[in-house]
Amino acid sequence: MDITLDFGGGAEVLFNNIKKRELKLDDGTKWTLRSFLQYMKDNLLTDRLELFMQGESVRPGILVLVNDTDWELLGELDYEIQPKDTISFISTLHGG
């Protein structure tokens, strides 16, 4: 299954500074955002875990989007990823 993964607000620094990438997820399994976060932790994260996650979810201050929609509207961790989805992790900015 092909998906796009991207970052905003500086969150990319935790993932090798790559802002946007295409990924191929194994077709055999059902993927939820819950399992995808584990995948990211195991395969893509290049910095300390606590800068990205708390427990099984993202740490406070990161907003997760699917196709430019707040994951809260889609079931959050339970959302089932579809082919061609764009999953985004946006760190909220505070500067001015």
């Binding site: 905003g8 607000g9 500086g10 606590e50 800068l51 740490r59 406070p60 201050g61 990161i62 907003l63 989007l65 430019d68 929609t69 707040d70 809260e72 509207l73 946006i90 760190s91 909220t92 900015l93 505070h94 500067g95 001015g96």
Partner: protein, 280 residues
């Protein structure tokens, strides 16, 4: 006020003739009271735009003095203001010359839980142009408790974000971020820098949202988040959740009914001060 003088019609002519403004809209602008919290990178374009537009009462809140490192992006502050004037005075000195009919109110003070209600109470709209997490939570809670819309902008390096909180059943800041970020994950302009044009874009967009709220426009950025990427010159419009019914401050059964200690809540100082310049 219900009608315009000949001079006002002349001065504001180029916006009065825009169909969605008109004479009625200009009257609303002149009657409106807006407070801008932060007279820095965002606060400067917000306040100049709203001054030009004729918002009748503009309050500016900032505790700080003008410093040299502000000048690259905080365009209301001149070299002659550095270490001489407060940001509030520096800003209003210029703005009053732009538009002598605006009533400017100086709030040369650090906004905190003790004074926030007094400062914000008499305004219609609050604009968040601050630079730190703790103050953003403070403003959010104060606006919910005082029932005022909060036009929130932020910028860092080459990115910007914009949304309107607590407006027409849209979410508040806590609806989306009920817990503050861990301090070590927070980058501020003192550490990471920011390009001036980015604050110019976001500040102008904030001013536009303020005007739309005053006009009671149907498409205010409530429940929507704008993400600006200056490197790509790209903008994304994110669909956000509605007001969270179990939100601690704006939900149906709020647990937060008065302002708290935000520095404690966030584990961070309510300011963006970086005494050590990073020199490459």
């Amino acid at each position: 006020m219900s009608q315009l003088t000949k001079q006002q019609i002349k001065r504001y002519n180029r916006q009065i003739i825009v169909p969605s403004i008109g004479v009625k809209g200009q009257v609303k602008l002149l009657d409106a009271k807006v407070v801008i919290v932060g007279a820095g990178g965002l606060g400067c374009p917000v306040s100049s735009n709203l001054t030009g537009t004729g918002v009748g009462t503009i309050g500016i809140v900032d505790y700080d003095e003008v410093e040299e490192s502000n000048l690259h992006r905080q365009l209301l502050h001149y070299e002659s203001d550095v270490l001489k004037n407060s940001k509030v005075d520096s800003a209003i000195n210029k703005l009053q010359q732009m538009n002598s009919s605006i009533k400017f109110i100086r709030h040369n003070i650090l906004i905190n839980s003790s004074n926030a209600f007094d400062i914000l109470r008499d305004y219609d709209i609050v604009v968040d142009c601050t630079d730190n997490v703790a103050t953003r939570y403070l403003l959010n809670d104060a606006c919910v408790l005082l029932k005022k819309p909060l036009v929130s902008g932020s910028a860092l390096q080459l990115e910007g974000q914009l949304t309107v909180y607590n407006y027409q059943d849209g979410p508040c800041y806590r609806c989306i971020f009920s817990k503050p970020p861990p301090p070590e994950t927070v980058q501020n302009c003192g550490d990471s820098g920011v390009i001036g044009a980015v604050t110019g874009v976001i500040g102008s967009l904030q001013a536009m949202e303020v005007v739309k709220i005053i006009m009671n426009h149907e498409n205010v950025m409530s429940g929507k988040l704008l993400l600006y990427d200056a490197a790509m010159c790209s903008f994304r419009n994110i669909k956000l959740r509605s007001r969270r019914k179990d939100c601690e401050v704006c939900g149906d059964n709020p647990t937060i009914t008065k302002l708290i200690n935000y520095e404690q809540f966030c584990g961070m100082c309510a300011m963006d001060k970086n005494p050590n310049l990073k020199i490459l």
